[in-house]
């Protein structure tokens, strides 16, 4: 965030998507594109949330099952299930990975004022993963800190696994 601007008035874009009953949002700057669900190649000896890999225009893209990652109940894929291709900073490196979403909702433009701080207690999600919450009419949209969410230790192993696959 640039301090020279009135950060409260600066509009930023977020992509909202649905996972189970909850709606999450991710900063558009972290989103590369949205893909329709396609066949995913399973990779052996990977954590449960690793769905596998897909071929994205010639490069290998690991895909994560966000439901498992977020500790939600696992559900069958539907026609609305999408893969959101994200750009994540991992130990200084920028890597791309796919995250499964039940459905992609819309692109929101929000100012920082509209984003409230996440509650420190009483939430089923780790507040460290959240940037904040946005009240949209009658429900909340949880805005994820994408880098933190996917920066857990497991991802290293996933990166390692993929590297192994490369090798």
């Amino acid at each position: 965030m640039d301090n020279t601007y009135n950060s409260n008035q600066l509009k930023r874009s977020y992509l909202s998507f649905q996972l189970g009953d909850e709606i999450f949002a991710a900063d558009v700057s972290k989103v590369l594109e949205i893909l329709e669900l396609r066949p995913i190649t399973k990779v052996p000896k990977t954590p449960a949330f690793m769905r596998g890999v897909i071929n994205l225009r010639g490069s290998v893209l690991p895909v994560l099952d966000t439901r498992i990652k977020f500790g939600l109940t696992v559900k069958e894929d539907t026609v609305d299930t999408c893969i959101i291709v994200l750009l994540v900073e991992l130990d200084g490196d920028m890597i791309t990975l796919g995250a499964l979403a039940d459905s992609v909702e819309e692109v929101l433009e929000l100012t920082d004022d509209e984003i409230e701080l996440p509650p420190s207690i009483g939430s089923k999600f780790n507040p460290d993963y959240l940037k904040g919450m946005y009240r949209n009419e009658d429900h909340f949209i949880m805005i994820l800190d994408v880098d933190k969410v996917f920066n857990a230790g497991e991802l290293i192993s996933s990166q390692a696994t993929i590297s192994t696959v490369h090798a």
């Binding site: 874009s13 558009v28 989103v31 949205i34 329709e36 026609v79 819309e106 692109v107």
Partner: protein
């Protein structure tokens, strides 16, 4: 409550025939009893009255013969054989009349008849008593064996006269010493001629005449001696013979004659007695008994006439009863036949009329409760027809309801389609495809509506149209399935469009200020895509609903078809 209508047809017929049989039995019974009464009358006449008359007639005839026999016995001058013959006849007639009497006695009699009969028996006993006396007298006559006492008397008188005359002549000749011829031969005189021929069973008379023969010979021998003395002129000697020989023998002979005469007199007395018995006592009782018999005959004849009249009366009365029974029976049988045939044909007629009304397509009619409540076959038929009509009404109602459902669904679809076509016209590239799909769908819906209307019409026209309707609903279902498929394509396109729009929005957001205009367009496109997807989902839902309804209608129609075919 039990009703004659509740009996089944077989029982109705059976009860009718049983009643007719009962009437037949009653009429036959009347005839049979009447005939038996008549037969009883005839039997009374033929077994009682007529034989009674016959027996009594026989009795009378034998009695008359008997009486005649006794009258015959009274004749003088009958010899022993003739009398024996008559007595034998009398015995035969007596046996015969006793037989007839016993035969009659064994027969049943009325009290009056019995009274006459008792009178007869009383008189007959007295008559028999008289006859027994006659028999005794006759037996005495036979024992005396002087069957013609008058002639014997006359003969004896003649012999006495002869011998008196001879005695007188001899006396005169002795006085005049005048010789005379004859008189000395005891066989030459009338008695001498008569004696050898005379025979009798009477011992007294026989002994009498045997004793007399000697004296008679001596008498005539004395005449011979006197004649010799006269010829010699010896008057004294002659007189002596005359006094000592002729007179005593003459007295002896005359006394013998007297004895015989006494026997003859006895017979005459007996015959007189018999005359009295036969002519007065016997005849009197005979007449009285015959009168009693005549009364019996008269009574029997009257009874026979009475029985015959009674028979005639029974015949006429039973004739009347038989005719009345036949007429009444025929009337009842006719009445029964009328009722039973009406009970059967009336209900069937009603059933046929009702079936014709149904076949003309009028299902609003109901069968009269009177018939459906009946428990016989007519009632079963009426109930079956009523059930059939009720079922048909249900079926047609279902068909109409199904058709209405289809029409409603179609209308709903058509409105949704209009809504969608509005949305589609705003959509750029996908709009054309949507529009073309919409047209196709509209056409299908139009067709569907038409089919539905046709189905409704055909359904209303009943049986024949049902099959067609079923087919049509199936087609409608197919068409709607096609719609559903097409709609899913639209849905797919909308979804893809949505993702494209989102990607565009993401790209625009990433471009920052420069991408702002593009972001607006992308948002609009996304909105359109979302709306078309919503519309597509709604259409999909409605089509599935339509398909369900059509399939249900098709199934129902398919179920109806065999039932309609059954009723047709």
């Amino acid at each position: 409550m039990f009703s004659f209508n509740d009996l089944n047809i077989g029982r109705k017929l059976l009860s009718g025939f049983l009643l007719v049989i009962a009437i037949l039995v009653i009429v036959g019974g009347i005839g049979f009893i009447s005939l038996r009464n008549v037969a009883g009358s005839f039997r009374a006449v033929s077994e009682n009255n007529l034989p009674s008359i016959q027996r009594v007639y026989e009795l009378e005839v034998y009695l008359e013969k008997l009486n005649k026999g006794y009258n015959n016995l009274l004749q003088i001058g009958l010899n022993r054989e003739e009398r024996d013959k008559i007595v034998k006849e009398i015995e035969q007639n007596r046996a015969s009349y006793i037989r007839a009497m016993n035969a009659y006695d064994a027969m049943s009699k009325t009290s009056e008849e019995q009274r006459y009969w008792d009178t007869f028996v009383e008189e007959l006993n007295q008559y028999a008593e008289a006859n027994r006396q006659i028999d005794r007298a006759h037996a005495e006559v036979l024992r005396i064996d002087v069957l013609n006492p008058l002639r014997l008397n006359r003969d004896l008188e003649l012999f006495m006269k002869d011998h008196y005359a001879l005695q007188v002549r001899t006396s005169n000749a002795i006085q005049a010493l005048d010789y005379f011829d004859g008189g000395d031969d005891h066989t030459a005189c009338n008695f001498g001629h008569w004696l050898p021929e005379f025979k009798t069973e009477n011992q007294a008379i026989s002994a009498n005449f045997m004793g007399m023969r000697n004296d008679h010979q001596q008498f005539h021998a004395a005449v011979g001696k006197i004649k010799n003395h006269i010829r010699q002129g010896n008057r004294n000697a002659a007189n002596d013979v005359y006094l000592h020989e002729m007179i005593p023998t003459a007295d002896k002979v005359f006394s013998y004659f007297g004895l015989a005469n006494n026997e003859a007199e006895k017979v005459v007395q007996l015959v007189g007695e018999m005359n009295h018995l036969v002519g007065v006592v016997g005849n009197q009782h005979y007449q009285k008994s015959v009168d009693a018999l005549n009364n019996v005959i008269k009574l029997n004849r009257e009874m026979a006439e009475e029985e015959t009249l009674a028979g005639a009366r029974i015949v006429s009365s039973s004739n009347f009863m038989l005719i009345a029974g036949i007429v009444l029976g025929a009337f009842i049988a006719f009445f029964l036949a009328n009722i039973i045939s009406k009970a059967i044909t009336g209900g069937i007629q009603k059933g046929v009329e009702f079936a014709e009304v149904i076949s003309n397509g009028d299902l609003t009619q109901n069968i009269d409760k009177k018939y459906t409540n009946q428990k016989d076959e007519i009632g079963q038929l009426a109930r079956a027809l009523q059930d059939m009509v009720d079922r048909l009404r249900d079926i047609i109602g279902n068909v109409i309801a199904g058709s209405d459902n289809i029409a409603a669904a179609s209308q709903q679809m058509s409105s949704v389609a209009q809504q969608m076509s509005q949305g589609s016209s705003e959509q750029a590239s996908s709009a054309e495809e949507v529009s073309s799909s919409m047209e196709e769908m509209a056409a299908n819906i139009q067709q569907n509506t038409e089919y539905a209307r046709e189905t409704e019409k055909i359904a209303k026209a009943a049986e024949s149209g049902i099959t067609e309707g079923s087919k049509t609903t199936n087609q409608a279902a197919d068409a709607m399935k096609q719609i559903a498929e097409k709609i899913s394509i639209i849905g797919e396109i909308s979804r893809q469009t949505n993702i494209l729009a989102l990607n565009a929005a993401v790209e625009a957001a990433r471009a920052g200020e420069h991408g702002k205009g593009f972001a607006v367009v992308a948002a609009e496109v996304r909105k359109l895509a979302e709306r078309s997807q919503v519309a597509a989902n709604e259409i999909d839902k409605l089509s599935k609903y339509g398909v369900d309804i059509s399939e249900t209608a098709g199934k129902k129609l398919a179920e109806i078809v065999p039932e309609i075919q059954k009723t047709a």
